[in-house]
Amino acid sequence: MKRHLLSSADLSRADALQVLDTAEELRTLANRPIKKLPTLRGRTVVNLFFEDSTRTRISFEAAAKRLSADVINFSAKGSSVSKGESLKDTALTLEAMGADAVVIRHGSSGAPHRLATSGWVRSSVVNAGDGTHEHPTQALLDAFTLRRHLGDLDGRRVTIVGDVLHSRVARSNAWLLSTLGADVTLVAPPTLLPVGVENWPVQSSYDLDSALDKCDAVMMLRVQRERMNAAFFPSAREYSRRYGLDGRRFARLPEHAIVMHPGPMNRGMEIAADVADSARSVIVEQVTNGVAVRMAVLYLLLSGQPGESERDVAPTTRESELSGLAGAAR
């Protein structure tokens, strides 16, 4: 694997399987009395969170600590960043403190990429969510969860429902699941599907009911009610009526199909409360799996020659493929 994890589009099938297989072994750690491995002892992992996210930050923190790394948490609120310090100066400070890995969550798409390619830091950069662009470790833990329940993902049908336009989880999952051979269908109202989605390696549909009949897994994305103020949909009521996973739709799912959600959920909006709590919902398991997957990512990124500078060259394979298509269609 390369030095950074910026986007799931960067992962080859072999890379992705290596992460999942490694996570499979690391998951057993949770059952041991001593939930610790010495692997990253003496390494420093910095959580650089410009956006609030207790859940993801804690997951990365647990992952790093279970590998015996030292963890430094940096959150934007109340810090020098909120007083106007730039990303660059923050990065230089972390570099001066000797960070080996920086886990960054930022509101601006491409911020982790800037950090990785700018030359400000020599550490590995892990994208914990950048704007509406990508959230690669979420996609990895989703794929890991799917694999545990469905086995090999080749040919498996996964339906992703919700605000795809603004969802970094949807993008990361679309690239990763298709790399792993799954058939992905994105379902959303037309206002919430990105321009050019017909060029993505997935299907898309405006109709949820027909997409649920034959799927092996359905992943519900969080939809913010405030989007109705920007006219993406007329009302929360209409959204959940047309695109929510309610009891009626849940009953129509194939028996083996699992229900997923990256969290946090809007119970009653995109997913009914009893569906979220049903036996076929793996939402809580996704969280557990998140720690193992993030341990695998940190281990795979931080092994290898330290201090060797390896510039990631942009654009990524997937993005340059698509821009080739973009040239033709607009």
Binding site: Q18, D21, E25, P38, T39, L67, Y299, S303, G304
Partner: protein, 212 residues
């Protein structure tokens, strides 16, 4: 363990153009049988004995020895595997390695006599890592070490309790172990660096040349 004639034998091997087989299938079988009996003798039976093989080939050896022991005692001797990748002392120096499974038998290792099983004992660093890994899983009553081949050149104060064959080697030589479970045959052979088929980091013989 008297001195063999190390220098001239290994010197001769180095001059040889092709790998030299030092143990064939029958030799390996006899060695494992002897090791199985030695374990039983030393521990006065198989009660509380758990065999844990160090991946990759240590696992197959552990399974075979457990089967032989079980045949003698008329019981099932628990065996499993213990992956030491996360405990290596050279992680920063090499690209990340895929993890192998760690499967500890249901009775666990607390208060057990754990016999670590590996194919080649060389620097001793693998075994050091295995001891650390064991410590995080439980607290055995005792830990013993069985190895098919001991090729010398220890870098740590580690010694095997049960040895299939002592094989003095020079540092430029490579010891390769083939087992039917993974390869086409059972054999142990020695190649000089020039004739060795695989690169040092290949999974063909992970303990060999991996943690030097």
């Amino acid at each position: 363990m008297g001195p063999s004639a190390p220098r001239s034998e290994s010197h001769q091997r180095q001059l040889s153009a092709s790998p030299v087989v030092v143990l064939d299938a029958a030799d390996i079988q006899r060695a494992l049988t002897r090791i199985a009996h030695e374990i039983l003798e030393r521990n006065r039976g198989s009660d509380d004995v758990v065999l844990l093989g160090i991946p990759t080939r240590g696992v197959a050896l552990a399974r075979r020895v457990a089967a032989i022991m079980g045949g003698v005692e008329g019981t099932d001797v628990p065996f499993g595997s213990i992956d030491i990748t996360m405990y290596r002392d050279d992680l920063r120096m090499r690209p990340a390695r895929t993890l192998e499974p760690t499967e500890v038998p249901a009775r666990g290792i607390d208060d057990a006599i754990v016999v670590l099983v590996d194919d080649v004992l060389f620097s001793g660093r693998t075994v050091r890592a295995a001891l650390d890994a064991l410590g995080d899983i439980g607290r055995p009553r005792a830990v013993q070490l069985a190895t098919l081949v001991d090729r010398g050149h220890r870098e740590l104060p580690i010694r095997a309790d049960f040895v299939g064959k002592n094989l003095p080697t020079s540092l430029v030589e490579r010891v390769e172990v083939n087992l039917l479970e993974y390869d086409e045959r059972d054999a142990v052979f020695i190649a000089s660096a020039a004739t060795a088929g695989a690169s040092p980091a290949s999974p063909a013989s992970p303990a060999e040349g991996a943690i030097r």
